[in-house]
């Protein structure tokens, strides 16, 4: 029988997976050191290792069986492909519905402070994802140090706002400008690098910025961070319960009862506007010569040179623009939490943003939204599991990789079509 030989390979595969997971879980989970009296003792945890390894074997076996069935009907493949088809045809409707939903979201009955806080976080990641999408998705430059620009934006905002006391709307462009400048600064040394080498250098850049922030005590206040960053105001109206003499605050001006929700809702709309601005900008610039040159550069740099496209300028603009949006998001982060410290800008942040872009489908704007909701949302849902919630994060990534290896939405639409032009 044809099937039996296939099942044999699946079983072999599963056992091999079991072997690998044993090698991984054995030392990591299986051996726990504990101190009893004097000295350390190793306590073996055989049960949990057996459990995890069995889970891996069974999981691999089921995936194998599923791929076997695929030849007849594969339910998941069908669902996902019909979703991407639907998005191709009705993408605009979905986007508009999503947009309207995002607008009324703060006033829906189930929206409480916690839900809104999570949404603000998701929107921040969406904005970062859209910003990084320019660099990674369009220009094809794998940047593992994107968090550096987020940090530069946040610190620029924090320092300018606390030193000069300027308002959010003046500090925001400045923060973006600084981050963009750092983008060009990073761009220069990495112009000649591609692929893995580029990834390593950008990763290093991210760490350098963080270490500078820790050690430049005079400017950044080192690991203690910067506190008391001014909160944003609603066109000059602060969100304070007791406004100072002669000053009106948001709730007194509009004759509302004071509620901390006002500020959260305002922050929500602020990040929504910033994110949509990023999205609009990216969608527009993709259709311009520079956007097409980014994509062409991703496809083939040598061909680009032979057609007279300047790769240096093209790459630098990608880095600068991507970094600018990272800086905007950073400024928002600083004003939202009123506190920045180097701890917020570790490598894991870069990794999450890259994961959102790659798993969303490189270059797809909607994909970034879906991936951000999926990855950050799942991690939030399992917040009660505390440190183990990262397992959910990893699990979500594995699921996408198994079922959508090219990203959730991987169909690329041409920036211009002759069909529409001739109409």
């Amino acid at each position: 029988m044809k099937n039996s030989s296939e099942i044999k390979t699946i079983i072999k595969d599963s056992l091999f997976t079991g072997l690998i997971s044993l090698a991984l879980f054995g030392p990591i989970v299986g051996l726990k050191t504990s101190s009893k009296g004097q000295g350390l003792f190793v306590t073996p945890h055989v049960g949990i290792v057996v459990l995890l390894v069995t889970a891996c074997i069974i999981g691999r076996f089921l995936i194998g069986l599923n791929s076997l069935r695929k030849k007849e009907i594969s339910l998941i493949a069908n669902i996902t492909s019909s979703i991407s088809n639907y998005m191709d045809n009705k993408g605009k409707h979905v986007a508009i519905t999503g947009f309207l939903f995002a607008i009324i979201f703060p006033f829906l009955p189930f929206t409480d402070r916690y839900v809104l806080d999570v949404s603000i976080m998701i929107l921040t990641y969406i904005m970062l994802g859209w910003g990084l999408n320019i660099v990674v998705g369009l220009a094809g430059l794998l940047d593992l140090g994107y968090v550096a620009f987020y940090a530069v934006g946040a610190y620029s905002y924090a320092l300018i706002a606390t030193t000069f006391g300027w308002s959010f709307w003046i500090c925001l462009p400045l923060a973006g400008l600084f981050a963009g400048f750092f983008g060009i600064l990073l761009g220069f040394p990495v112009l000649r690098l591609r692929g893995d080498y580029l990834a390593i250098v950008t990763l290093g850049f991210g760490e350098i910025i963080r270490i500078i922030l820790i050690n430049w005590y005079e400017l950044t206040n080192g690991p203690d961070g910067i506190t008391d960053i001014p909160r944003p105001s609603f066109f000059g109206l602060p969100f304070k319960k007791f406004p100072e003499e002669g000053e009106s605050s948001f709730h007194t001006f509009f004759n509302l009862e004071y509620s901390t929700m006002h500020r959260i809702i305002f922050l929500y709309y602020l990040i929504l506007v910033l994110a949509l601005m990023t999205n609009y900008f990216t969608l527009r610039i993709r259709k311009l010569p520079v956007g097409r040159a980014w994509e062409a550069l991703r496809e083939d740099e040598i061909a680009c040179k032979s057609l007279g496209v300047n790769p240096t300028n093209t790459k630098l603009t990608a880095f600068a623009i991507g970094a600018t949006f990272g800086g905007f998001a950073g400024a928002f982060f600083a004003t939202r939490s009123a506190f920045v410290s180097p701890e917020s800008f570790t490598f894991i942040e870069s990794a999450i943003i890259v994961a959102i872009v790659v798993l969303g489908g490189m270059g797809s704007q909607t994909g970034v939204v879906l991936a951000a909701i999926f990855l950050i949302g799942i991690t939030e849902i399992f917040r009660d599991l505390e440190q183990y919630r990262m397992i959910a994060f990893g699990g979500a990534m594995v699921l996408i990789m198994i079922f959508k290896p090219k990203g959730i939405l991987s169909n690329r639409k041409p920036t211009i079509t002759l069909k529409n032009y001739l109409k």
Binding site: P289, A296, P311
Partner: protein, 264 residues
């Protein structure tokens, strides 16, 4: 008599101890097809890479005569060859932007004009008329070339999805969209069937006569070389062993020995 478009003088290219091109001199004329032939490893592609700025020659000069100016190609490197000196090229292994549409491929070739018209993206973001007009012009130019090779109905498909022969032709018209004075084609007929290579001949003749562009051609397919070349340069081990018309080349004893082969 046409004037010389390109003059290569005493070109030498050394990679360490290896001399890939040895004291090569030849010229190519306006409105003519000049073929460079020779056995594998003779240094043909290296000549192209020197001309198009990918390599910097060890010694020698490459002079391009344009209408009112004379330029030394050596001074231009990288992307400036196509942008400023107006020398375009195709590649031995096709280098299209395969995940982008056919039309987009042709628009990338017009990048610099569009970039200026879009005010380095500032006018473009604001969607000003000045940019829109220029974009329309660029699309029309692309359509003009697509009409010529008969690919207009596939303009919105991915370039990578085209059949091999069409990809070859697309790469040539993409190079033409940069408005070159000199077009360097690296084995454009490789892998084409007889019908496709005769279409290619037609396209190249059209470019030569209608577009006033000099063509430099590396080719192994003798039906193409002998059919359309006005001038042939034969290389062997980096040295020129013969230069003349297609007919003379066919009858030259040294060329036959080194490359064309003796009929049994």
């Amino acid at each position: 008599m046409n004037k010389n478009l390109l003059e290569v003088e005493n070109l030498t290219m050394k990679f360490g101890g290896l001399t890939a091109i040895d004291d090569l001199s030849f010229s190519a004329k306006d409105n003519e097809i000049t073929s460079i032939i020779g056995p594998n490893g003779a240094g043909k592609t290296t000549v192209f890479n020197c001309l198009t700025g990918f390599y910097k020659p060890t010694t020698g000069e490459m002079i391009l005569h344009k209408k009112n100016e004379t330029i030394a190609l050596k001074k231009f490197t990288d992307y400036k060859i196509a942008y400023k000196a107006k020398v375009a090229r195709t590649f031995q292994n096709i280098r299209l932007f395969s995940a982008m549409s056919v039309l987009e491929n042709l628009l990338v070739a017009q990048h610099n004009e569009l970039m200026i018209a879009s005010g380095y993206s500032i006018f473009g973001i604001l969607n000003l008329k000045r940019y829109k007009d220029k974009e329309k012009e660029a699309v029309e130019k692309s359509k003009y070339w697509l009409d010529i090779i008969g690919l207009t109905n596939r303009a919105d498909d991915n370039a990578g999805d085209l059949p091999y022969g069409d990809q070859r032709k697309l790469e040539i018209i993409r190079a033409m969209c940069t408005n070159p004075k000199l077009l360097c084609l690296d084995e454009p007929a490789a892998g084409l069937n007889p019908k496709e290579s005769s279409e290619l001949n037609k396209l190249l003749k059209f470019i030569k006569t209608e577009k006033q562009t000099g063509i430099l051609l590396i080719e192994h397919d003798m039906s193409v070389v002998m059919g359309i070349s006005d001038h042939v340069v034969v290389l062997n081990y980096g040295k020129k062993i013969f230069e003349g018309t297609a007919k003379d080349t066919r009858n030259n004893k040294e060329v036959i020995e080194a490359y064309l082969g003796v009929e049994e």
